[in-house]
């Protein structure tokens, strides 16, 4: 993974079958910029014929092609660092026509290719399995149109999620999906993974906010799915394309829906002695018929890390805190906030802060969400390496799954921190370990499995937002029947008949026939 910006990524552990691990250690804010990397000293061994490189150069221009080994190493993996494979060449197309040109060239030469946004995937979605061409969309980064009257924006795929938020500031509208990685991740990546975020509880995930996608298929044809208007006759292709994890083609334009800003909000910090009390409170709030805009939980380990990093004023002795937010029209919010405070107290908690806000820019509001959204970065203070998991359970099963996580941690002698989208039942246990100790690595793998398997057992899923990628393919047969999977494979083959687009992702068995052209740079054993 690239070592750019202020994000430092580490993790060179291999021999881990099943590939469940993701471990990162960020110093501060996530800043994954794919262009400002520190080159590593690796011998230059361009493995793709120079003819192909010059053909690519003719399409996108010399400044938009990387083919030297030392430049390519940066792209050997994304936020999921356990598996590595260096692409043979990385191109940065700047237009749909260039993407078409590159894809057609890949077709002519039967080369595998993989789209990549900012590379913040936590599931290895951008891994260049079998080498080939990586299409990095970060230079297609224009916001093409913002139309608040008709409540849409059209953007190129490389537009960073937060840029759109910024561009919309002051208009009274916003783009609702707000992944914690929003300062780095791209809309194209969000569309490919159907990203969520803290505010998806009330406002929905990416698919609920995408109206149209321009997609370049692996044969070079361009599909305009959906559009600026709703309910165009035909199948909901835009809906189908969201969450394709790069296996259908390359998204080159996205039309997103815009949402009115809330008039006001109340953000409460609930403090609890135990994780149990906090998760019971989550169930209590939902059961009371309140739909918060966000409902996030941090446990004690996480509180300590975040407090050390950001000094927000989280009580470091607490067993858990909940960030509970309601928004909408000011008129009824006080009563709603009071009702929530009452539920917090009923479960033995207390409300240590209550922020009443009119815009999402008020300093205390910004501070609490910065703490939450940078939590992954803060964890670096507790442990050099860690593995972030992503699972979902029905909301009422939160107390159960959190107890399970504690037991798993105890059983394997691992520290596990929790920071997650509690209102959606979307857990993110973070398993702390030392990558130099192979036994710990093994235990982290086993523990991750045990947690995800319990998610399935209680009727949940192994991923709420990070995707299957290469990381979780082995779980697919546990979630889906052979008939379900065969139907998915058939659809994938329709869009991507040779499987050369993002080979060996998402669906087990893959296309199968991709020959690994170069061994790539696998995680060192």
């Amino acid at each position: 993974m690239n070592q750019g910006g202020s994000g430092r990524v580490s993790g060179r552990v291999g021999g881990t079958e099943g590939g469940l691990l993701f471990y990162l250690s960020f110093d501060t804010d996530l800043q994954v910029g794919s262009e400002n990397h520190t080159p590593m000293s690796v011998a230059s061994t361009p493995s793709l014929s120079s003819r192909i490189v010059s053909e690519l150069t003719a399409i996108v221009g010399a400044e938009n092609v990387l083919h030297q080994r030392d430049e390519l190493v940066v792209y050997e993996c994304d936020g999921y660092v356990i598996e590595k494979s260096v692409p043979d060449v990385v191109v940065f197309p700047t237009s749909t026509e260039q993407v078409v040109g590159v894809v057609k060239l890949c077709e002519r030469h039967q080369l595998p290719f993989v789209p990549r946004g900012a590379g913040t995937s936590l599931a290895g979605g951008t891994l260049a399995v079998g080498g080939g061409v990586m299409l990095c969309l970060t230079r297609m980064k224009r916001i093409l149109e913002i139309n608040t009257r008709d409540r849409y924006a059209i953007v190129e795929p490389g537009v960073v999620n937060l840029w759109l938020t910024r561009a919309l500031a002051g208009t009274g509208f916003h783009y609702a999906p707000d992944p914690s990685s929003q300062s780095a991740c791209t809309i194209g990546g969000n569309v490919a993974t159907n990203s969520g975020g803290p505010h998806t509880l009330k406002y929905g995930v990416t698919v609920n906010h995408v109206r149209g996608v321009e997609l370049v298929l692996p044969d070079g044809s361009v599909v305009q799915a959906g559009g600026v208007t709703e309910d165009n006759p035909g199948y909901d292709l835009a809906g189908l394309i969201v969450g394709h994890e790069g296996t259908f083609g390359v998204a080159t334009k996205v039309t997103v829906g815009l949402t009115r800003d809330p008039e006001a909000g109340r953000t409460l910090l609930g403090v609890f002695e135990s994780v149990d009390a906090a998760t019971e409170t989550v169930s209590g709030i939902i059961a009371a018929g309140i739909v918060p805009a966000a409902l996030e939980m941090l446990d004690n380990l996480m509180i300590q890390a975040v407090e050390k990093a950001f000094h927000f004023g989280f009580p470091t002795e607490a067993g858990a805190v909940l960030i509970i937010e309601v928004d909408g029209l000011d008129a009824g919010l006080d009563r709603e906030a009071q009702a929530i405070a009452e539920i917090v107290r009923t479960h033995g908690g207390s409300v240590s802060k209550s922020i009443s806000w009119r815009t999402r820019k008020e300093p205390e509001y910004v501070a609490i969400w910065k703490s939450r959204k940078s939590a992954f970065g803060a964890i670096g203070r507790l442990s050099p390496t860690f593995c972030t998991q992503d699972g979902v359970v029905p909301r009422t099963k939160l107390p159960h799954i959190l107890r399970h996580i504690t037991r798993v941690g105890e059983r394997h002698g691992l520290r596990i921190a929790n920071v997650f989208h509690a209102g959606d039942g979307n857990i993110h246990p973070i398993l702390l370990f030392d990558e130099r100790d192979p036994d710990q690595v093994k235990r982290v793998l086993v523990a991750s499995h045990e947690i995800l398997e319990e998610c399935i057992a209680v009727g949940g899923s192994v991923t709420g937002e990070h995707g299957i990628g290469v990381e979780k393919m082995e779980f697919m047969p546990q979630l889906f029947t052979p008939e379900d999977l065969a139907t998915m494979v058939a659809l994938r083959n329709m869009f991507n008949p040779t499987g050369r687009c993002s080979p060996d992702k998402m669906l087990p068995g893959g296309a199968g026939c991709i020959e690994r052209k170069s061994p790539g740079h696998r995680a060192s054993a």
Binding site: D231, G243, H244, G289, G328, A331, G332, P394, R395, S461
Partner: protein, 417 residues
Amino acid sequence: MTWPESPLGGRLGDGRFAIATDRPETVDALRQAVVARVGEGLALYPQGGATALDYGGVPRAPGIALDTRSLNQVIDYPAADMTITVEAGITLGMLRSVLAAEKQRVQLDAPHPDRATLGGVFATNTRGPRSFGLGRPRDQVIGVSFVTSEGNLVKGGGRVVKNVAGYDFPRLLTGSMGTLGILTQLTLKVRPIPESSALVWVPFTSLDSAAPALDRLNISATRPVAVELLNRLGSRLAGEALGLPIEDWTLVAGFEDNTESVEWQVNRLMIELGRTNIVIREGTSSDPLWSALTELQAAEVGPLSFVANLRPSSVVSFVKEVDSSRWALQAHAGNGIVRGHATGTSELEGFAPDVARLRALAVRDGGNLILSRCPTEAKAELGVWGEPRADWNIAERIKKTLDPAGVLNPGRFVGTI
């Protein structure tokens, strides 16, 4: 195989009759029926409450009706998780009463809720006034199961509100008109029934005076869940029986939230619109108007009905082009959806030119215009699904992938589907 001449086997819509109607009581029985009937060389026409049998193209091949109404069980209703899993043959009305017992609801509006099945609502992507604030059917569904024409039971999504494992069959199947699979089960998000509800009926004597109000609503300090625009004929159909004042145009804004918020919004709207001559229907007295607005969508007051999808900002210029003396109009104005119903007994020929002209306008705006009702004999010529779209060729390929034999609702949907 020839078309039966007698209605004894059941109706397929468009004056076509089924060879027989199968009413499987279990999903397994449904699968067996599918395999057996396809083996006999028959096409399959899934049906729910038969509220929309004439919707879409004309059935192309003789076959059987598959009545899904016996598959109507509630599979799992963990109210505290705010999800429900039900079989697709349950009616919307029945589903609502199950949820009401827990003070919850699904965010779906559809005409004839006591007959319309959930499978039908989702297959036809039926939406209503509240889709402006509460989302469309595609925003409510988190999991589906369906039986393919090969007899396989396939599922996508799941029972939890967030889940990105696998391709998005819930979205693909929503609005697929029963041409990819027979929906057998759906998992939906549910929400608490809001504390309070109000509809504000604002009559206007001209479209020019209503237009600024629509622009204003887009940035209003209020947050309406419904923004409807009706012409005089539409207003009459929806409001006359309820004693509402009828003018040339009516703007209807709907609010749902806690009591304080709804009260504040209604007052605020009056200030923003600078109007006092409005009618407010609040609490339970809003219910009849909510259903009247929803039933209006299915009005049968003449030979033809259309649905145009536009940019919301184009709604006014579009309806200006429609002859309001002959078409009853209802726009979900906030979403850019305009529904028109030809009125009177006059001949179809009188309306056909309007269709072509209005469709061209909609297409120029990036949208389209479909015919939700149309005499069978005119369907091919008028094109019920509107101007062909370039992405229909992908739709056709998806159809071939999921229904290789092409036996599910043949002729019903876009292109050659």
